[in-house]
Symmetry: C2
Subunit: 571 residues, 2 copies
C-alpha cells in the first residue's frame, strides 16, 4: 500500500484542462500532488487527513505582476495577509524600493521576504529611473550591471516592466537596452514584462521585436486586440476588468493568452477587498465562468513565468491549493502551501516572519530640513499682471492627466493662484541631492481644500504636496518630515489623517490591519477635502509619474510625458 | 522610413491567437518578423520583395517528437526532403544510433546534421537500452554521465522519451533515474518526454510525478483522457490521428495541450506522402479546422519545447514560414527559414549538406560470420513427440503482439515447425558481443512465404529474420551480412528486394528518393509474401521491441513485456 503524507478526502478538485470540478480524493506526498483519485477504490497509508466535505479544491492563486511596495507594507506583513487571500505565489517587482535605494534596496526587499509562508519571486527593476535621468531626481538607479547581478538570484523570475517604451524603440543608450542585449545571449526563456499604454501599430511591433511581450497597462479594445494579435501576454488588472474586456476575450477565445494580476493594491483595499481573489470574485460576478476565472489566476500566470511546478493540481506539481466553501462567491476556507496549511478561516491569524528588519538608514530617508511658507511662494516671470500657466487636470477613473491653460494674477512678482480654481503642487527632492523643487498647478477631480503630502509618489518617491493654501502645504510637508515619510492630509491648520511610512519613506513596519486603517483615514480625509476619484491615493501618488500621460510634475518641473521633456510652467 | 530586408506583400497570414488568416503585408528584418501590417498604409524600404498573391502564410511546421533514423536516411538527406514538406524545426531523438553506437553515435548524428537548412534540436536518448540490460544486447548504452554531457549541448532541447515506464515508477537504479535526479537541481524547465502505452491511474500518476509529462504513444480514449487530465502534453502521431480522437479533443477543447508529431516516418512514406504536413493534411481532411491544425503543428509544439522564438508570425519571432497555394489541401508553394527561401515548388531540388560523413567504422557494424542452415535448427527439450510453444501473434493495425500457444511436432530433437502455420523468427546479436541467438515463432498477419531479414530492428538493431523455411532464412541473413545492414526480402531462394543500410546497419547514405524507392520494393515484396499490415515494415521492425506489448523477441529469447522478463519458448 502506498505511503503518503496527506490525504484530502472528498473534494471537488479543479481540473485545469477539462475545466471541471471532479469529485476525488487527492494524495499528497513530499509537498507535491501524487495522485488525483477519481475512483476512490485504492487505499493508501496517509500520515494525515483532511475531510474535504465536498468543498472546492483549486490551485493556489498566482499573481505574476505586482509590487509589494504598493501595499506600503513590509514583505512580511504583506504576505501574512496574502495567505488569507489564497495567494501562494507572487512575482513582485521591487521597483519602488529600487527608486529609493537602488540595487541595495532591491536586495534588502528580497531579504525581507525570505521567511514568507508563500513563494515570492522577483522581477528585475528595469526602468529605474523610468525615463530620462534629466526628468527627475531618483534615490537609486539600476544599471545594466545591477540587472546582471539580479539575474543570477534564483528568486528572480523575469525582467520587470520595461516602462521607457517610447525611448527603447528608438536609438538609445538606456541601461535596459544594454541588459536585454546581454540577456539574449544567456537566457532565451526569461520573460520580459512591458508597460506600454497606448502604443500601437509599428511602434508596438518594435517593442515586441525586442522580446518584451507582456503588458499589464490600461487599453481600449483596439489596443487590446493588437496586443493579443502580436503574441503579447496580456495581464488584466482591476481597472481593465470590465464586461467589455471579458466579452472580447470570450468572443475570440483568448483565454490562453492572458491572466489576472493586481499590479498595485493598497493597504486598505487589501484589508477590505482582498488581493488577486478580489479579481477572481469580480470576474465571476461579471459573468466569467468560475472555472475559467480560476484558470486565469493559476494556470496561465504560472505558464507565463515558466513556473512549470505549479498552477494546476497535477501529479508532480506543488501541493499549493485552496479549499473553497463556495465557488460563486469564491469564499476561501483554507490555504495550503507545499502540502501544509498556512491559513484556515476562523483560526487565529499567524505571523510568519521572524522579524527580518530593514537597516537603520531606511528609517532616515527624508533628507529635508523643515520648510517655511516662503518655500511655496511661486515666482512669476513678471512683477505685476497676469500669467498663463499649464495646469494638470485630474480626472476620475484614470491616472492620466490633461494639460489645461489657466490664467492667474501676479502681485509683487508672485503668482496669486489661490482664487484660480487650482491647487498649488510641489515636488521636493528628498534624497539630499540638491533639494530642488518643481512647482505646478492641479485642477479637476482632486481635493479642493487643505493640503495633502506624500513621500509615496511614483516613481522616484520624492515628496509631493498639493494644497489650497501655503499654510496647510507647509504644515503637511513638515509633518511628513517629522514622520520620516508617509501620507498626511491637513485642513485648516490641523492634521486630519496620517500614515507613517518610515521605511525608505514608502513602507511601514506595522501590521496589515493597522496600515490599512490609517490609509483608509487618509483616503477619507482626502475625500472630505473634495477629492473625487475611484482611488484618490493612486490618483495623487501618480501625479509625479513621468511615463503616465500627459502632464506630470517632478522635482525638475512640469513634464510633457509624450515629448519626454520638461516644459515651462508659464506659457 | 523603416529599412527592412524582406517585404512579403499581400498574403493571408495566420494569426495564432485569433486563429484567423488576415490580409496583410509582412515586414521581415534580420531574419525575424518585424511587423504584420494590416493597414498597409505605412511605407518601408525593403531590400527584396515577395508577391504573396493572396496565398496563405503560416509559420514553418515544428515536429517535436521524431527520430531521423526512422527514415533510414542521413540527417542531410532527410532534411533536404523536409524543406519540401514545410518543416523548419525538428526535435529528433537519435535513439536508434544511440543503441548502435552509444553517446558517440549520438554526437556523430548531431555532427552529421550540422549543415541542415532547418533547425534540428535533439532529445537526449534516455532509455538505451529501453529496458533491463539482461533482456537484450545493445550496441551502445547511454549512461547518466552521457546524458549530463549531452545536456550541455546547445542543440539539445529535451530528455527523449523515457521508455522504461514500468521500471522507473518502482524502486530502480536506472541511469535515467540518476539523471532525472540531477536534472531537477540544474534545470527546472527542461521538457521530459515519455513513452507509456497503457499506463493508467496511480501508475500513470507516479510517472507524471517524476516530471515526465509528454507522451506520443497509442491510446484508447480513456487512456487519452487520463493523460490530458494529468497535465500531460499529448503528441498525436499518425496512428492516433483518427476521428474519434479529434472529436474528443474538440469536444473538451483540449487544443492547447497537444500537438501533431511524426515519431517514425519511413523513407518511402516520406517520399510519397510527406512528413508533418501529411498529418496536417489528414487532420483537415478528417474535419479539423485548418487554422486549428496549423496551430497544433506550429504553436503548441513550439511552446512545449520552450521554443519561444518561433511557432507564430509575431514581431520578434523567427521568419520561418510557408506560403500555401491552397489551405484545404495544404499545398506548399514555398518554405522560408530565417527569412530566406529554402524551397520553392517547381524549382530544382537543392542539396544543402556539404557532405559531412560518418566515420569508416559505421560501414562495418554487422559483426557476424556467414551462417548456414543449421544455425536455424530449433532444438526441443524432447527428442520425439509434441511441444507447445509461445508464438507471437501479429495483428494488422497495431505493433502490439499477443501470445498464442501452438503445438508443434518434434523429430530427432528438432522442432518441426514448418507446417504449424507459424514462421520461425530469430534475433542474432550482431555487435560482436557473444553472438547469441534468440528463437521464436510468429503467426498472424505477417508474411506467409520466404523470409525477411532486417538489421533495422527496434531498439537494439540486432539482426531479425523471420521466414517459412530455413533455406530462405539463411539466405536473407547472409545477404544482409554482405550488405552490412539493411532489409532483405527473399522467396524461393531468390532475393526479391533489398535496401542497403550500411551506416551503423540502420542508415543509408543514398538520396531520399532512392532509399524511398528501395524501401517501397521491400514493402511490396513483404506484401507479396503475404504480409497483411498497414505498415509491414514498422510491424516487422518492432517485433524485437521489448517495451511494446505483449510478447517480443530479442537475442536473449522471448520477452514477456509486461513482466519485463525472458520467458521460455516451450510451455
Amino acid at each position: 500500500m502506498q505511503n503518503i503524507d496527506l490525504l484530502v478526502r472528498d473534494v471537488r478538485a479543479f481540473n485545469s484542462y477539462f475545466k471541471t470540478f471532479d469529485k476525488v480524493d487527492v494524495w499528497i506526498s513530499d509537498g507535491k500532488i501524487l495522485y488525483i483519485d477519481r475512483k476512490k477504490t485504492r487505499e493508501c497509508n496517509a500520515k494525515s487527513y483532511i475531510d474535504g466535505d465536498d468543498r472546492w479544491m483549486i490551485p493556489g492563486l498566482i499573481d505574476i505582476h505586482m509590487h509589494i511596495e504598493s501595499s506600503m507594507m513590509t514583505p512580511a506583513a504583506f504576505c501574512d495577509r496574502l495567505v488569507e487571500c489564497g495567494v501562494t505565489t507572487i512575482v513582485s517587482e521591487p521597483h519602488e524600493m529600487a527608486n529609493v535605494g537602488g540595487v541595495q534596496g532591491v536586495l534588502d526587499m528580497i531579504r525581507a521576504g525570505e521567511n514568507s509562508p508563500i513563494d515570492i519571486f522577483y522581477g528585475i527593476p528595469s526602468s529605474v529611473p523610468s525615463t530620462k535621468p534629466e526628468l527627475e531626481t531618483t534615490g537609486g538607479v539600476i544599471y545594466c550591471k545591477d540587472m546582471e547581478r539580479l539575474k543570477e538570484n534564483p528568486a528572480v523570475a523575469c525582467v520587470g516592466e520595461v516602462m521607457n517604451y517610447r525611448q527603447i524603440i528608438r536609438k538609445n543608450d538606456l541601461e535596459i537596452s544594454k541588459f536585454l542585449k546581454k540577456l539574449r545571449t544567456i537566457d532565451r526563456l526569461f520573460p520580459i514584462e512591458g508597460h506600454c499604454p497606448a502604443l500601437v501599430d509599428l511602434d508596438l511591433a518594435k517593442f515586441l521585436y525586442l522580446g518584451i511581450n507582456g503588458d499589464h497597462t490600461e487599453h481600449n479594445i483596439e489596443e487590446l486586440r493588437q496586443r493579443f494579435a502580436g503574441g503579447m501576454f496580456v495581464e488584466i488588472q482591476e481597472k481593465m476588468l470590465n464586461c467589455e474586456v471579458l466579452e472580447f476575450i470570450h468572443k475570440h477565445n483568448l483565454y490562453e493568452y492572458f491572466c489576472f494580476v493586481t499590479d498595485d493594491v493598497m493597504a486598505d483595499t487589501l484589508q477590505t477587498q482582498g488581493h488577486l481573489d478580489a479579481l477572481v470574485r469580480k470576474a465571476i460576478k461579471d459573468g466569467f465562468e468560475p472555472a475559467q476565472a480560476v484558470y486565469n489566476a493559476t494556470f496561465t500566470p504560472a505558464r507565463r513565468m515558466n513556473f512549470f511546478d505549479r498552477g494546476a493540481l497535477d501529479p508532480g506539481k506543488k501541493a499549493d491549493f485552496l479549499l473553497l466553501d463556495a465557488l460563486d462567491t469564491f469564499s476561501i476556507a483554507a490555504t495550503y502551501k507545499d502540502g501544509s496549511c498556512i491559513y484556515e478561516k476562523g483560526a487565529p491569524a499567524r505571523t510568519w516572519n521572524n522579524g527580518t528588519d530593514f537597516a537603520e538608514a531606511y528609517y532616515h530617508s527624508i533628507r529635508l530640513r523643515m520648510q517655511n511658507e516662503q518655500t511655496f511662494h511661486v515666482k512669476a516671470p513678471i512683477m505685476e499682471g497676469t500669467v498663463r500657466v499649464r495646469a494638470m487636470e485630474m480626472r476620475d477613473g484614470s491616472t492620466r492627466t490633461a494639460e489645461r491653460i489657466v490664467e492667474m494674477p501676479v502681485q509683487g512678482g508672485l503668482v496669486q493662484w489661490e482664487q484660480s480654481g487650482c491647487l498649488l503642487a510641489a515636488v521636493l527632492e528628498r534624497y539630499g541631492k540638491g533639494g530642488g523643487i518643481g512647482f505646478g498647478f492641479v485642477t479637476g477631480d482632486c481635493h479642493k481644500r487643505g493640503a495633502v503630502a506624500t513621500s509615496y509618489a511614483h516613481d522616484c518617491h520624492n515628496m509631493l504636496v498639493a494644497g489650497a493654501n501655503v499654510k496647510d502645504i507647509a504644515l503637511a510637508v513638515n509633518r511628513l518630515i517629522e514622520l520620516q515619510g508617509g501620507m498626511v492630509a491637513v485642513d485648516g491648520g490641523q492634521v486630519q489623517a496620517e500614515l507613517q511610512l518610515n521605511i525608505g519613506g514608502i513602507l511601514s513596519g506595522r501590521p496589515a490591519a493597522e496600515i490599512g486603517a490609517a490609509l483608509g483615514c487618509v483616503r477619507a480625509a482626502m475625500e472630505a477635502q473634495g477629492y473625487r476619484h475611484y482611488n484618490p491615493i493612486m490618483s495623487f501618488c501618480t501625479l509625479t509619474l513621468p511615463v503616465s500621460p500627459a502632464l506630470k510634475l517632478t522635482d525638475k518641473g512640469l513634464i510633457d510625458v509624450k515629448a519626454a521633456c520638461v516644459v515651462p510652467l508659464f506659457v
